[in-house]
Symmetry: C2
Subunit: 296 residues, 2 copies
Amino acid sequence: MQTHPTIKDGWFREISETSFPGQAFCLKVKRILHSEKSEFQDILVFESESYGNVLVLDGIVQCTERDEFAYQELISHIPLFSHPNPKRILVIGGGDGGVLREVVKHGDTIESVTLVEIDETVIKLSKKYLPNMAKGFDHEKVKVVLDDGFKFLKKVAQENNGKYDIIITDSSDPEGPAEAFFRKNYFELMYNALNDDGIVITQASENCWLNVDKLKDLKKICKQVFPIVEYGYVTIPSYTSGQLGLMCCSKKLQITEPIRKLSTAEESKLFKYYNSEIHKASFIHPTWAKKLIDGN
Amino acid sequence: MQTHPTIKDGWFREISETSFPGQAFCLKVKRILHSEKSEFQDILVFESESYGNVLVLDGIVQCTERDEFAYQELISHIPLFSHPNPKRILVIGGGDGGVLREVVKHGDTIESVTLVEIDETVIKLSKKYLPNMAKGFDHEKVKVVLDDGFKFLKKVAQENNGKYDIIITDSSDPEGPAEAFFRKNYFELMYNALNDDGIVITQASENCWLNVDKLKDLKKICKQVFPIVEYGYVTIPSYTSGQLGLMCCSKKLQITEPIRKLSTAEESKLFKYYNSEIHKASFIHPTWAKKLIDGN
């Protein structure tokens, strides 16, 4: 029988002494589906008792079949509905395919979606064990590049062959291969790869209940590069403390409310989490968090 | 050394096979401060590594010093700021004193706050181990009644000596002594104990990520008694899935936005979580949850 250091007595336990000491989210494991150390990270896929299949990278839950839609929808549709006609979309990371699945819901407005994933193993395993997410790869407008997102953006700058309207960084946390995605020069590379009304969104790794100083620092970095920076969040039970921060940067468009809106019926057909009201509410924060993140 | 069945290898684990099978929130334990079976329930108080002191009733976290303010503030200030002049407040449960601490922040408008707690042990232990919450008991306008909330409301109906503007049910979950607080006749008793513009708020035990059917059923019961019923929620890491539902019922006043507002500076001085914007945002839900809870 397969084992994994994060699983004991039939329970997976998410522990990080550096990021969230003293607390742990646990999921009961039915069976381990896959476990390996890829070239880049430790990968675990297991079938849970009540959250469907679960993808874990370097010990941290990346997605579960039960609640993945919350994060995938919000990180995709906040920038997409804030832009009047998003055509060229770049996804850095996102090897599970969930963001692709959401982006292509915008139909004819989308011309191309390029996904840059460093770890091919994540894509392969997602196609096998997370088919409802990986179906995003099947769309004709999707192009996959196996590369480091940072290096890819440097090449984009050199080649200068068309810029992006939206860049979505759907990475793992900074403790691992995604470390570079939380540095100022990464945001500068994204800025340069964007059209004049471009928008960037990135998972912030932290949330207001965890390390608010890190959120504040990330926002500060973003503000040095982008004129408009807003901190939003998504509620999702399988991420630490039940929510995850999203840092949104924009060259000139507002991002805290949608510029395009669907009818309630259309929203209800296309989305499980996203709607135009929750778009706005995702930027409303408790008093103490607002004060700290805004630096007042 | 003291032990408790929920603590193993130095970690407290919150498990419920009926309410949230297959998932568990864990807190690292520094030391057990108190453990007993009172007349009504199993009580555990421990010092955690990163959440301060923690009160656990029948295996379920009731509050931690680190994040209690979120729940205490929202369950108190949603009804209080929805009412133009709340004078007589009734708190059912709330033996930790946190709701009292929040209610009395409304100053001169408040004439009396009556707290009805069945388990005196909870009050005693909170005064010892959760002093920042239990300080709510010290206020001159607070009156404590040691009684079952259900029986107390029956007596109120018979005696008819003044009705309440707001009733806050800050109970434990239905699996235990609080079981009666989730039934229709409890809401009828509350309705009858309220003034004509009265408001009721009750912790809904569930949230949209857990058993939405139970939320829907609770809302249905409330709608049979009150003309206005709204489902809200508070984000809080130490409650299951990182959030808790709040069912709000009203005889005639709207409750999804504050009728009284403080300045940002005053809010920031008085509250860590509550502000007028988060009041409104607490009633905005993801698409699937809204559809199910509203029964559309």
